[in-house]
């Protein structure tokens, strides 16, 4: 490793090439800025592309095919037990990741963005030192911090080769008995992938239910559907110790004051992530972090230092790739003198379980906590033609609106393709749509999208395909 003494100057320095960083770099370059992008990994695309969203969805797609084949027995099609070639699956998944990360590199090159591999650390408010790079120092007029987040490790003492989600995504093997610690969306998705590959999966979650971020009614549908996929779901339970066993690990799980010991072949730890703000020399730049380790920014994504911006997982808000991408564009536009701002009314969230869950805008739980009166219209997929034709009638769509004005406040969905359908709800909230706007819009038949229209009708009291609530006399 040669430490070059090359120093550069640039108009805009972007630190991190994830969905926040690379999007900011491209947008800024398109608006005429001179951009340098620093990324410590040799591949571009960040956690999302390399060990997050993309590989996990690729694996989920594969597992879903097997599920669908099994379900097709009902339709008279039998495929028998699939044979799983882990090597080929891994290869395919890697080709997906490589194709996309290569694509990003191509986009950046075409835009004339200079990409430096190395680790950036602030030297002052106008310069970073780069470790391990061909260039050792970059001075900048503007900077966008997009360093993302990393996985939380189990407390010290557990220096055993347990799996993080990143490792699990490399598909080292299919353990016979897998324990997933953490019932959030990563734990759920990974648990379902491995269950689909043949593992006996046990879920352990600290809170009283899985997927605490989503509304309970949405999660309930998934829990019911997944009941047969998991061996065990232990709620309000905590892992108190993990020990090496002859083959695998002996895990002590505490629940209700009682302790259980079980043996697993592998343990996947998915207990959350932390922002990468503690290792980039923020204080030298004149910046600090809040209690959660996040950098505070205004609606322009500007930090307390006017020429330094921050986006994505290092700033408050949902740690989601698409939120980072939107902030990236805002920051790039503001730096280029445009009156841009992150004033989005709705950030959608998606969980790729089976069935999928998706929500956007206000959730029922948030409304309850804010003691805000809302109208909720629910439409069950059981009443939807397309769901029947797919043989997937578990799930529903709900629409949350403001009582007097019928302003659309939120949408929640659980069912097939919820991840795709939620975009319409997000657009509607962004536009300030009312129930009328949704239910007047013609939704093609027979599709799942009609459920959103009917849920809006239900909220307005005019649903066709479900019976009106019996009026109290």
């Amino acid at each position: 490793m040669v430490m070059g003494s090359l120093s550069e100057e640039t108009e805009l320095l972007v630190i991190g090439a994830g969905p926040g960083g690379y999007v900011a770099a491209i947008r800024a370059a398109d608006l005429g800025r001179e951009v340098v992008l620093v990324e410590e990994r040799d591949k571009l695309g960040g956690v999302c592309l390399i060990e997050g969203c993309i590989p996990s969805k690729a694996l989920i797609s594969a597992v879903e095919v097997a599920d669908a084949a099994k379900a097709a027995e009902n339709m008279g099609l039998s495929f028998g037990e699939p044979s799983r070639d882990l090597f080929r699956l891994r290869q395919w998944k890697d080709s997906v990741v490589d194709g996309l990360t290569g694509g990003i590199r191509g986009l950046l090159k075409r835009r004339g963005v200079e990409v430096i591999q190395g680790r950036a650390r602030f030297e002052g408010p106008n310069a970073v030192a780069i470790e391990g790079g061909a260039v050792s120092r970059v001075e900048f007029k503007n900077c966008i911090i997009a360093t993302g987040s990393r996985i939380n490790q189990l407390p010290p003492g557990y220096d055993l080769p347990l799996w993080s989600s990143a490792e699990a995504l490399t598909l080292p093997e299919v353990p016979e008995r897998l324990l997933v610690v953490g019932g959030g969306y990563i734990g759920m998705e990974m648990g379902l992938v491995y269950a689909g590959l043949g593992s006996e999966v046990t879920m352990v979650e600290l809170f009283p239910r899985l997927l605490m971020g989503a509304d309970e009614d949405l999660v309930d549908v998934v829990v019911k559907s997944c009941a047969d996929k998991f061996k065990d779901v232990l709620l309000e339970s905590k892992v108190t110790s993990v020990e090496q066993a002859d083959s695998g690990y002996r895990v002590t799980i505490e629940r209700d004051g009682q302790e259980q010991r079980k043996t697993f072949d592998q343990v996947l730890v998915a207990i959350g992530r932390r922002p990468n703000t503690d290792n980039i020399g923020l204080d030298k730049a004149g910046l600090g972090v809040n209690d959660q380790g996040l950098i505070e920014v205004n609606s322009e994504c500007r930090t307390a230092v006017p020429h330094i911006f921050a986006i994505g997982d290092v700033v408050p808000g949902p740690a989601l790739a698409h939120k980072a991408s939107r902030e990236a564009k805002v920051a790039a536009e503001v730096i280029s003198g445009h009156p841009s701002a992150f004033d989005n009314r709705a950030v959608p969230a998606v969980v790729f379980t089976h069935p999928e869950i998706a929500w956007t805008g206000l959730t029922e739980r948030e409304a309850r906590e804010a003691e805000r009166e809302v109208t909720v219209g629910k439409f069950p997929l059981r009443a939807l033609g397309r769901a029947w034709t797919m043989g997937q009638t578990e799930g529903f769509v709900k629409v949350i609106s403001e009582p007097e004005t019928n302003l659309l406040l939120g949408v929640g969905m659980v069912g097939p393709h919820a991840s795709e359908l939620i975009a319409e709800g997000t657009l509607a909230i962004e536009m300030g749509a009312t129930l009328e706007d949704l239910l007047v819009t013609i939704h093609p038949h027979p599709t799942l999208s009609e459920a959103l229209m009917e849920a809006a009708e239900a909220a307005a009291g005019e649903a066709v395909h479900i019976n009106p609530p019996r009026k109290k006399k």
């Binding site: 009156p339 841009s340 701002a341 804010a370 805000r372 007097e404 406040l409 962004e430 300030g432 009328e436």
Partner: protein
């Protein structure tokens, strides 16, 4: 059943206040008969019924606000539903035609220029029962607005959560943002009369806050709430609304923003008055039968404005620029019976005195009947107010903001004056030019008025020089 939808009223007007219904549900009404009087923020108009039939339902009660695109009334034409909704397109051309003509030039209202489609029945019934007032936001969460509208607000430096919304569910439209940016910060609800008792506490607090703030900017400004006058004797209360309220706003604005200076002079119109009387008599039954002194003055003023362009302009104090208008639209103040209206005679430089007098007569009579089009009240460059016929020796008028000058005419009457050392009886017309001292000086005013006085002294001069 024919649903009469309130058509686009032109120039970004979204709503109107119901002033008076001519019918009740169950009444018969003929096509073109007056249906309802509506008031926009510029004028009161009588809306004729586009169809004949029996009135099935009406949009609301007097004082309610009705939005463009909402149902004004439902009329049972006896044609049957299908015909009603099909034909709805055509008759709507009638009331919509006039506003559409005005709106034709307004590209920015393109969204509203589309002929309003009859709304589906079920939504209508809701509207008919409860005409949608401009909805006040519940104040929870950011105000609904499409992304492009939010960006527009940022571009114009407008705090979008302060913009009074006129869209459904309190949605802020781009027009709302533009209006707010232009300085019209009044909430559309201001046109609403009722102040529910439980909100009074909030109003009082808001007033106190406003008073405190205003007082801090203008020395000696006293904005104490008024005393309860009934303490000293019987009183009668009436809400400040409609045209009176509009006039009040205009006057406060004009008096605060414009430094008024008045230049007074007397015009010897003896010869002119003789000429006018003779011509008027000759032309009875034809154009010119309403030949008034005012028409001559309009001509003289127009000629004067051509030479003194400063008085035919507007001053933008924010951009610090003066716009000199190269067209001449003279507004003529009329006491309409409901209040002060100023219909505008357009392009007076291209019309003869007789044409001008005919137009003034037409505008004035329609003003008194409340039948003026909104466009007829706009676009003025200079105003003349003639109280002469009602009496008075002279007046100092208030400038019709955003114009910069106004001419007040007193009563033309016979007076003894000195000519060549002798006292003679002449018909004297007192004139007062009030003007904006930011844009013109006393000397300019003097020259302008002196010229006018000279021309009015001899009809031949008007013929030759104007």
């Amino acid at each position: 059943m024919f649903e009469f939808i309130l058509p686009d009223l032109g120039e970004g007007i979204h709503e109107a206040e119901i002033l008076k219904w001519y019918v009740e549900p169950g009444d018969a009404i003929g096509e073109d008969e007056p249906l309802v009087d509506l008031e926009t923020d510029k004028a009161a108009v009588t809306i004729p019924s586009p169809k004949g039939g029996t009135v099935s339902s009406i949009a609301g009660k007097v004082g309610d606000i009705i939005n463009v695109g909402n149902v004004v009334a439902v009329i049972d034409t006896g044609d049957g539903e299908a015909a009603g909704t099909e034909k709805a397109g055509e008759p709507e051309e009638k009331p919509a035609q006039k506003p559409e003509k005005e709106a034709a030039g307004e590209e920015k209202d393109a969204g509203q220029e589309k002929r309003p489609e009859p709304e589906p029945k079920k939504v209508d019934e809701k509207e008919a029962e409860k005409p949608a007032p401009a909805i006040k936001r519940s104040g929870k969460g950011p105000v609904p607005a499409a992304p492009a509208t939010r960006r527009l607000a940022r571009e114009l430096g407008v705090e979008i959560n302060l913009v009074p919304p006129t869209g459904p569910a309190g949605r802020v439209t781009p027009e709302d943002v533009h209006r707010f940016a232009a300085g019209d910060t009044a909430a559309p609800e201001d046109a609403h009369v009722e102040v529910p008792a439980k909100e009074v506490g909030e109003d009082e607090r808001a007033l106190k806050e406003f008073a405190a703030h205003a007082a801090s900017t203008i020395p000696l400004l006293d904005l104490e709430p008024l005393p309860d006058f009934s303490k000293w004797g019987p009183v009668e209360t009436e809400q400040l609304r409609s045209i009176r309220r509009k006039v009040a706003r205009k006057m406060v604005t004009s008096m605060i923003l414009v430094p008024h200076v008045a230049h007074m002079d007397d015009a010897d119109v003896t010869k002119l008055e003789e000429f006018r009387k003779k011509e008027k008599e000759r032309r009875q039954g034809g154009p010119g039968e309403h030949l008034t002194m005012l028409a001559f003055v309009v001509k003289a003023v127009t000629a004067g404005l051509k030479a003194a362009k400063a008085f035919n302009a507007s001053l933008d104090p924010f951009r610090e620029e003066i716009t000199y208008k190269k067209y001449y639209n003279i507004g003529v103040a009329v006491d309409s019976g409901k209040g002060l209206l100023v219909p505008v005679v357009k392009d007076t430089d291209r019309k003869s005195i007789i044409q001008i007098s005919t137009e003034i007569e037409d505008l004035a009579s329609r003003a008194r009947e409340g039948k003026l089009e909104v466009d007829e009240l706009r676009g003025g460059t200079f105003t003349i107010t003639n109280v002469g016929p009602l009496g008075g020796t002279a007046l100092i008028p208030t400038i019709n903001y955003p114009e910069v000058a106004i001419l007040g005419m007193g009563r033309a009457q016979q007076k003894p004056v000195v000519r060549d050392g002798e006292i003679v009886i002449r018909t004297i017309l007192p004139l007062t030019l009030a003007f904006d001292h930011r844009i013109a000086d006393g000397a300019d005013a003097a020259r302008f008025v002196t010229e006018m006085v000279r021309q009015l002294s001899d009809p031949n001069l008007l013929l030759l020089e104007t």
